[in-house]
């Protein structure tokens, strides 16, 4: 290594340098133009098509590579698990006892809800179809948080659809190739998701900050007195993109510059995800009920029920 390049140095000739420089500068101008054009029309079909094609082309290779990598990761993980198995067992038993109580409560509420549904004669909410996929790639660049999953337009995946894992919302689809899709994670700087805080009933926008916990941005008029750490944060369904009621995380900290959210999803472990295929109800017609006129199925109401369906399907 020490002497590498000595021969080349002796042979170093200067002919053709101007041509090379001309080529480099022209290509840099092309790259700069691409940068400027994509800045103003990132969703232009030509860029979108190119992204879809590259994602599709890379997917089979990533699919093959991600298998052994996951196996190695799992092997290391299981050795680590072995040391904490007794403590984990105790914690799981406690958690199971608690969950059984919640299950009883959930069944009681489901029963009650179905009675109310019948009473209000609500139309059945649109079904959410779950399309399961494996994470085969992720963006390891310094400015982006995204994943690539091995399902795409062939499975009717479209841009904007929500992606969840066993714990909660992971992100949403930003590029849908034929066989693979790119998911923008909640921690990406460009991720902005409408959410609400369950107990405090406050609407907010969850903005990603890359390496820190995402932050909630509230409306200037929002009353934040009820806000407390530990409250659940769910998707609000506003903006008509993501279904309402998908679990996102809990309030982790409240400071002067707003509140941060601890996400339920752990992106270092995310492996199998579900893309939610969901048609947002757009047709709103008034319905007569014993309590007066009700707009049904409203986007929010339907979203609630849809989210319950999602939860049921998950459970």
């Amino acid at each position: 290594m020490d002497v590498l390049g000595e021969i080349s140095k002796r042979r170093l000739v200067r002919h053709g340098q101007a041509d090379k420089r001309y080529m480099i500068v022209s290509l840099m101008v092309v790259a700069l133009l691409l940068l400027v054009v994509s800045r103003h029309s990132a969703e232009a079909s030509v860029f979108e098509k190119a992204r879809e094609s590259v994602t599709d082309a890379a997917a089979p290779v990533l699919n093959i590579l991600s298998g052994p990598i996951k196996a190695i990761g799992d092997a290391i993980g299981s050795v680590q698990d072995y040391f904490g198995v007794i403590e984990e067992n105790r914690m799981l038993k406690e958690e199971q006892a608690e969950l059984l109580q919640w299950k009883a409560e959930a069944l009681r509420l489901r029963d009650l809800l179905s009675k109310y549904d019948r009473l209000l004669s609500l139309e059945a909410p649109p079904e959410i179809a779950h399309v399961q996929g494996h994470v085969v790639g992720e963006s390891n660049g310094p400015f982006l948080r995204a994943m690539i999953v091995n399902v795409g337009a062939d499975q009717d995946i479209e841009r904007g659809q929500a992606v969840i894992d066993d714990y909660g919302l992971v992100g949403h689809v930003v590029t849908a190739g034929r066989k693979a899709s790119r998911i923008l994670l909640l921690t990406d700087l460009n991720s902005r998701i409408p959410v609400y805080i369950e107990e405090a009933d406050i609407q907010a926008i969850l903005g990603g900050r890359y390496d820190e916990a995402p932050r909630l941005e509230f409306l200037d008029t929002a009353d934040l007195t009820g806000l407390a750490e530990g409250q659940r944060v769910l998707t609000s369904g506003r903006g008509g993109v993501l279904p309402r009621g998908l679990p996102v995380g809990v309030i982790g900290g409240i400071g002067e510059d707003g509140a941060t959210v601890e996400l339920y999803s752990d992106y270092d472990r995310t492996d199998v995800v579900s893309v939610l295929r969901y048609d947002f109800p757009t047709d709103v017609t008034p319905v007569e009920t014993p309590f007066g006129e009700l707009n049904a199925p409203s986007a929010e109401g339907a979203g609630d029920a849809a989210a319950l369906n999602a939860a049921a399907a998950n459970g």
């Binding site: 290594m1 000595e6 140095k9 170093l12 992720e138 390891n140 660049g141 310094p142 390496d211 992106y267």
Partner: protein, 170 residues
């Protein structure tokens, strides 16, 4: 003209740096999750661009550098053209400094690489900040560049071995 095995060998040699660069870009999209995600994947395309721009630029012409950068932009996501621009900048800068670096010890070249990586990082940070209209995150970029600079000798030794066998024996 019939293809001789020698021709195929030559073609393979000529394509090697470009293929390495493209594989490096692909590696940035593989979910390695080193140390539970704490250590980012090094920017392998930067090794490739720096190494071959220095030791054998004929095998890594500017269009190849452009292609590698573009592949990274599409695979990893983010502004299209950003990494193409960064790598072309590194390629151009290394070409002007070849005379100084050729035949130097690994330590000197490594220092040169550290400078190149730092300039690349600063440029990428400024460009991303302008592109997004808000300051980009520094911490992850810093960690990724630190990992990239620290692992350079590892890749450089591998590339040098290959370089001696395949490129200098002609």
């Amino acid at each position: 003209m019939e293809w001789q095995s020698e021709d195929i060998g030559k073609l393979a040699t000529a394509l090697t740096p470009t293929i390495f660069g493209l594989l490096g870009a692909l590696a940035l999209a593989v979910p390695f999750r080193f140390f539970e995600g704490f250590a980012p994947t090094p920017l392998i395309p930067l090794f490739v661009v720096f190494f071959w721009s220095l030791y054998h630029p004929d095998y890594l012409p500017a269009p190849s550098v452009f292609l590698i950068g573009l592949a990274q932009d599409f695979l990893v996501g983010g502004p299209i053209g950003l990494w193409a621009l960064v790598y072309l900048g590194v390629h151009g800068a290394v070409l002007t400094q070849r005379e100084f670096f050729l035949g130097r010890t690994l330590g000197v070249v490594w220092t040169g690489f550290a400078f190149a990586a730092t300039f690349a990082a600063v440029f990428a940070w400024i460009a991303t900040s302008i592109y997004n209209g808000k300051t980009a995150v520094v911490s992850v970029l810093t960690t990724q560049m630190a990992v990239t600079i620290l692992t350079y000798p590892l890749f450089a030794r591998g590339f040098a071995h290959l370089h001696r066998r395949a490129f200098l024996d002609e």
